[in-house]
């Protein structure tokens, strides 16, 4: 056990830090660009210099780095406020699925453009009738020559409106039990028959969408895994999703809460002198630090050849509620003014209110808190599933409700 860099790691860190210092785009350089353009500029610059998706093989645009080097790179890049956020689904979820289930020609065609940020991907899994029970999805695909014809509806699709490609799970056989009738594809989001409608969230923003499919044609060559094997392929994506969505350490964190607690007063003393405030900050520090080191331990396990397991669900399960609680508590510290949500008037430019309003999304996206707890109980602790009413039943015979 050694929490410090080895000689090679220190050299790698120095190289990464030096490159970042010279290449992180300045504010002037990004002025006037929209967020996507700025993120693409930074991603392409990293790609050209071999600093994008560094754990990927060189031929796919990476540099064949190990897990610990990834930790080091992340630490160094986090020292800068660089544009980010549009490539998580593509690089973190679609790409590992392509690597595991795709053909060499898929790798050659899609991975480099995922790494360079040239193409953005989205995930078309959830449906109005298939959320926590994802395998209950109804969007259907029917074979027609070399193509499949897709009809149905997806929902909660983040970034569908700016994505070039999407990964898609559909029902190819409704007459077998639900997990067995699924197949997995990817498709061009500009395909005829794809219609994208934004969903306005309770934050007021609209980052995700409903996506409607009307006779959309997908070539069979864009299928990943066998027909009927879609559930297994989807599990590859989902396992990576939990690792990719991760801990929620950014935004409202202990550093920010500590700063606020030093600035606002309780009974003529800085709030940080109050023992109740200290206790809460200490608990959140324990969580932040615990998540960080749990992540590092998992990186060490990966560097020893182990595959990341369901224990990664812990990051989201702890991080998302923590973010919500911290934002709420920091607003409480502001007392009556905590309610003000205004970039000029609010502390931290309204980050607390924005985070609080967005926090429920973090606790739901990629599997709710409750689903995460089930995964830990069933797949880590080995506890049995709840009895399922639809077990072994053909999908067409499974009872459904009105919602």
């Amino acid at each position: 056990m050694d929490f410090k860099d080895s000689k090679d790691e220190a050299a790698f860190r120095a190289e990464a830090a030096a490159w970042l210092k010279d290449n992180v785009p300045s504010e002037e350089e990004l002025a006037g660009m929209d967020e996507i353009a700025a993120a693409k500029l930074w991603q392409k610059r990293k790609y050209d210099a071999g600093w994008a998706c560094i754990r990927w093989d060189k031929e796919f645009g990476g540099r064949g780095a190990n897990a610990i080097e990834q930790v080091i790179w992340n630490q160094e890049e986090a020292k800068y406020n660089v544009p980010a956020g549009f490539f998580v689904i593509g690089q973190g979820m679609a790409a590992p699925t392509l690597m595991t289930w795709g053909q060499p020609e898929h790798h050659a065609r899609y991975l480099p453009k995922l790494a360079s940020g040239e193409e953005i991907w989205c995930q078309l899994f959830s449906e109005p009738a298939g959320g926590s029970d994802l395998a209950a999805l109804r969007t259907k695909a029917e074979r027609d020559g070399d193509d499949w014809v897709i009809n149905g509806q997806k929902i909660w699709t983040s970034g569908a409106h700016y994505s070039d490609y999407g990964i898609l799970v559909v029902r190819t056989d409704p007459n077998v039990p639900k997990h067995k009738g699924l197949s997995y594809f990817f498709l061009d989001m500009k395909s005829p028959g794809v219609e994208i409608k934004p969903i306005k969230q309770l934050t007021g923003g609209a980052n995700f969408n409903e996506v409607y499919f009307t006779d959309v044609r997908i070539p069979d060559s864009q299928r990943l895994g066998e027909v009927g094997q879609g559930w297994q392929v989807a599990l590859t994506t989902l396992m990576n999703e939990r690792a990719a969505i991760g801990g929620g350490g950014a935004g409202v964190n202990v550093e920010m809460a500590y700063r606020i607690a030093n600035e606002v007063m309780i009974d003529d003393k800085p709030a940080i002198a109050d023992s109740a405030v200290r206790a809460k900050l200490a608990n959140w520090y324990v969580q932040e630090s615990g998540l960080r080191f749990t992540g590092y331990r998992s990186m060490t396990a990966m560097s020893r050849g182990e595959i990341p397991g369901p224990e990664n669900s812990i990051g989201k399960l702890v991080g998302a509620p923590k973010t919500q609680e911290m934002a709420s508590f920091c607003m409480d510290l502001l007392e009556m003014s905590g309610a003000i949500w205004d970039e000029q008037l609010s502390k931290e430019a309204g980050m607390l209110q924005l985070t609080y309003m967005g926090a429920p999304g973090g606790r739901i996206a990629g599997g709710t808190d409750e689903i995460m707890a089930n995964i830990i109980a069933e797949r880590v602790l080995g506890m049995p599933q709840e009895p399922r009413m639809d077990k072994g039943m053909a999908f067409t015979e499974v009872p459904t409700g009105s919602n």
């Binding site: 056990m1 860099d5 900050l281 630090s289 331990r297 399960l317 995460m372 089930n374 049995p384 599933q385």
Partner: protein
């Protein structure tokens, strides 16, 4: 960077777990629970023979000269077994105090005896209810003698000497003193705590002969550093206990049927146990950080120790409480072993300062680390 134990350390864990399964099964803990014994003397002797008390003591003082990474592995296994022995008092506190502060002479005298188990040491800070501070210490020291009352003192009834925190009119207001307990100026009586498997005492010192340990008036700061070191080791015991309680809860739930199915299949139980797993995992990861900081002599030790300790207190107490709850009525019986963890987790949570004390220390250390 490497965030795991080495293969050799994992081998040590296997050996330790096997040894304790043979020599500290639940029946052994229960024997102490059901008697007036203050510890399991037979187990203690075997632990000494295994060399565990000698782990980090340098070879020149009769120890094994191993690292703290080996010691935390042993601590975790002792916590898992709820071992009823004075290991924490003698090894995490008394031995550490001597290693940190002892003069060459003091080390030569005591460390070989601590290593070989000839002497059991302990640490005496508390003087009754409330949080100790240099300003409220009533125990006083004058030229080679100590007078005052310490309560509770873990293993105070069986220890050969204690490291006593006493008021000083110098420096930070406190000094540490080595006091042999088998002398006319010392009287001790057993104090019952909620953990019947771990003996405690009240000790009265009346002009008891003593020897300064470290500088006069440098005792409070020294004591805080000592507690940082001990906190990491206590935290590993607590994490071992927390995992054992979780496993006990899971095993029981799997085999207990209600309404026609295993209660482990109910989400109410699954979510409860998942919550235990999450707390245990975060605590364990923080304990890694603490172990590394202790072993490497890192300047981050104060922060790492408080983080490990707060997480471990929360994980152990939570796991012990919810383990009883998962067992239902049976968990509340004397007959079931859930009580071992329930008692021990609460005892360990206050033994070297409460959750609130360590939360406060954590934020103080955070402030200092960020100011540095």
């Amino acid at each position: 960077m490497d965030f795991e134990f080495s293969d050799e350390q994992e081998l040590l864990r296997e050996q330790a777990r096997g040894f304790l399964a043979d020599n500290c099964p639940p029946m052994a803990v229960r024997k102490v629970l059901d008697s007036d014994a203050q510890y399991d003397a037979e187990l203690w002797q075997k632990v000494v023979e295994m060399g565990w008390t000698a782990t980090v003591i340098p070879e020149e003082f009769g120890g094994l000269g191993l690292s703290y990474l080996e010691l935390v592995v042993i601590a975790e296994e002792l916590g898992r077994a709820a071992a009823p022995i004075p290991f924490s008092s003698s090894v995490y506190l008394a031995t550490e105090a001597l290693l940190m502060l002892g003069s060459q002479e003091q080390k030569e005298k005591w460390l070989p005896m601590l290593a070989s188990g000839e002497a059991i040491g302990t640490f005496a800070l508390a003087e009754g209810n409330g949080r100790p501070a240099a300003s409220n210490l009533k125990t006083a020291a004058t030229g080679g003698s100590v007078t005052g009352r310490k309560i509770p003192v873990a293993d105070g009834g069986i220890a050969d000497f204690a490291v006593v925190v006493a008021a000083s009119n110098q420096g930070d207001g406190a000094s540490l003193h080595l006091v042999e307990l088998d002398q006319s100026g010392v009287s001790r009586e057993a104090v019952r705590t909620l953990d019947f498997t771990r003996g405690h005492a009240a000790i009265d010192f009346a002009n008891a002969q003593s020897e300064l340990l470290g500088g006069d008036g440098a005792g409070w700061a020294a004591m805080e550093s000592l507690l940082d070191r001990a906190a990491v080791l206590f935290a590993w015991e607590q994490v071992g206990l927390a995992d054992a309680a979780l496993e006990q809860a899971r095993d029981y739930a799997m085999g207990r049927y209600a309404f026609g199915r295993s209660i482990a299949s109910y989400q109410a139980i699954k979510h409860k146990l998942a919550g235990m797993y999450v707390k245990n995992t975060l605590a364990r990861s923080n304990c890694y950080y603490g172990a590394w900081a202790l072993d490497s002599g890192s300047a981050e030790l104060a922060l790492a120790a408080a983080t490990a300790r707060v997480g471990a207190i929360q994980a152990a107490v939570h796991a012990a409480e919810e383990n009883v709850q998962t067992h239902g009525g049976m968990g509340f019986t004397w007959e079931f072993d859930c009580q071992f963890y329930y008692r021990r987790a609460k005892l360990l949570s206050v033994n070297i300062g409460s959750e609130g004390y360590w939360q406060d220390k954590l934020i103080t250390a955070y402030e200092q680390t960020n100011a540095a």
